[in-house]
Symmetry: C2
Subunit: 419 residues, 2 copies
Amino acid sequence: MRQFECINGEMVIGGIPATKIADKFGTPVYVTDESALRENFRRINKAFSRHMPTHIHYACKANTNLAILRILKQEGSYIDAVSIGEVETCLRAGFSPDRIMFTGVCVSTKELEAVVSKGVLINIDSFSEMKRLAGIKSRIPISIRVNPDVGAGHHDHVVTGSRKSKFGIPLADILKAYSESLDLGLIPVGLHAHIGAGVQEIDPFVKVTDVLVSIAKEIEEKLRIELEFIDIGGGIGIPYKPDEKPMDVDLLAQEVTARIKAGCSVETVAIEPGRYIVADTTVLLTKVVDIKETPEKNFACIDAGFNTLIRPSFYGSYHHIAVANKFDASGEVIYDVVGPICESGDFLARDRLLPKLNEGDVIAVYDAGAYGFSMSSQYNSRPRCREVLVYNGTANIIREMETIDDILRHQRIPSRLMV
Amino acid sequence: MRQFECINGEMVIGGIPATKIADKFGTPVYVTDESALRENFRRINKAFSRHMPTHIHYACKANTNLAILRILKQEGSYIDAVSIGEVETCLRAGFSPDRIMFTGVCVSTKELEAVVSKGVLINIDSFSEMKRLAGIKSRIPISIRVNPDVGAGHHDHVVTGSRKSKFGIPLADILKAYSESLDLGLIPVGLHAHIGAGVQEIDPFVKVTDVLVSIAKEIEEKLRIELEFIDIGGGIGIPYKPDEKPMDVDLLAQEVTARIKAGCSVETVAIEPGRYIVADTTVLLTKVVDIKETPEKNFACIDAGFNTLIRPSFYGSYHHIAVANKFDASGEVIYDVVGPICESGDFLARDRLLPKLNEGDVIAVYDAGAYGFSMSSQYNSRPRCREVLVYNGTANIIREMETIDDILRHQRIPSRLMV
């Protein structure tokens, strides 16, 4: 959780008072601090690359805004893409194909063909995908994703590395997969696993590294395959709550790289942080539009709901909340902070002690940069909101607000119904 | 759960084999049967209107496709709208303003002004909203939403009528609300409550009717207000599982209308079915793109995930699954039916006994007409899919597929980043 400046009782983001941003660009609005983004990337890149050659593959599903991708391109990032749409988005942001690895699941042949045509590295998730890929094009480098039987994460929904998940080639079949890839004329250059999302301990990453290193060693010895990289996947969590501590990425890097260097001859480590890079760069600003005091609860009714930020409703996630225009005021009243979607599951925060609120107050929802806009929807026919980038006191729109015309654009009424 | 015709081992929807629709329009695709839609509307309209004047307000948040709205307009429906976006969508589909009631929660003054300018009836959710409305325009008819302290529904997230929910004026304050509406120069004509969603028993509807009738009687006696209608809200569930039974809407109508007629002088009943009208009209067709057999599980990997249909992941909802091209084959293998979103929480069905599957098989996900497309997203940068309307053997596109350009349309990269 980032600390923000407080000037004259107001929250300041990237040199600009939050209320100014809210007034100028309207609410709800996602506001990203460019400096924070660059800092996060540099911190993790430095932590690993001082030990061995490192590729930081930004897991762009967390946030695919073109401006954010562009900044990370400038910083020297690689990309973890999970769909042809993400591949195309990253190409448009200026990434060259050799900086992108595609890791899909349930990949159709049509999507595979499209990804191959873009010239990006494909990380194979299943035997079927491998065979179908070889049918499209062989003599191309590939990576293979193993299901490492090491799972972790902030919610059942995001534990991807357990044996019961749909991801990757089962551990017991991984040698067979590399062997078959050779038979199919493919060129295996990488090995990948991903344990889950929002993991706050180092231990699961160490465990998965051990699994990957032992596989790499085994295929060196048995199949004479020398891999170029081991990719330990993503999943580094962040402290969403004020009392939580960030992961020590220096220690993580040290533990992971030491094991790779000691255990096999692979020379490059890849890692796929998404949340770690973007989550705390962004706050969601939203206005209090109604205050409801009932015998049971006090509701702060805001103009953002799970259409805008679904994580609290979907995963039960905690996002820290502050009142931007009462930034140094003490908590006085306990509120549920709820949105305009017509379901009681539409809340951004429950039972939070906040300064006494009034209509018009600006609420800042922290750590909204990852899985915020990227999971948003037009549910209840609400156009999606703006995104703004702030940098040293200037603010730029990086996504225009949608209109009702955008919601209606693709819809057609058959003429026979127009009578 | 609707029964579909089986011809030559194939599922047939509205006179067309499902595989033909999948091949012609691509997958995933939502396919709505116009006849089923008209039947559902007529059934519930008839059930109520034979007892007393009835307004069926279709709760359009379930499905705001313009063609579906147009059909319901032809059938004589009214509209329950929850946002200015829904109001505008329904106006474009041809509904006149006097057929639309707006019931918002967390309504901003800006949205309230926009709704007032459209001339639709406003159903007040809070004292603040009422005051702000009177500030915009008085001498207009309104309805008031009470929190009836009767809650029910298929998931905690959708129980809206309990005292701890954010919706409506607390029961204890409802007389004060009507009295204040008169003081503010507003003209109260209706009384509304909504208990929740996916309610499969009649009893909660009877209870809420009793609450509403006793309020109506009290305001007749104490405030001399004669309401035009009582609106018992929506929430009628449907049988998502093969062994469940549909609600007896004839019995529901009889119980509800008898109480209104006996207990007060209100002459019109309103009801707000959404799911009941559209859910079973629509199947989501999706193709098997990969089969994964692991020691733990068999996965049928399809081309639709929670980006396309979020209910299983979000609410844990059950949707019945059939194999459209093996429609009369017996179950042989137990599958998890999973999608292309990179989270293990991305599944449409778990542990289902299905005929042995092959890549290319067409999976039909039942009852996808309500909260299907309307809750869909572009998560993982996947463009949203087509919708098709079938009627007596003809099929029309009612929503074009999105492209990557649609996903990128509103994004901007500040020029200083283009170096």
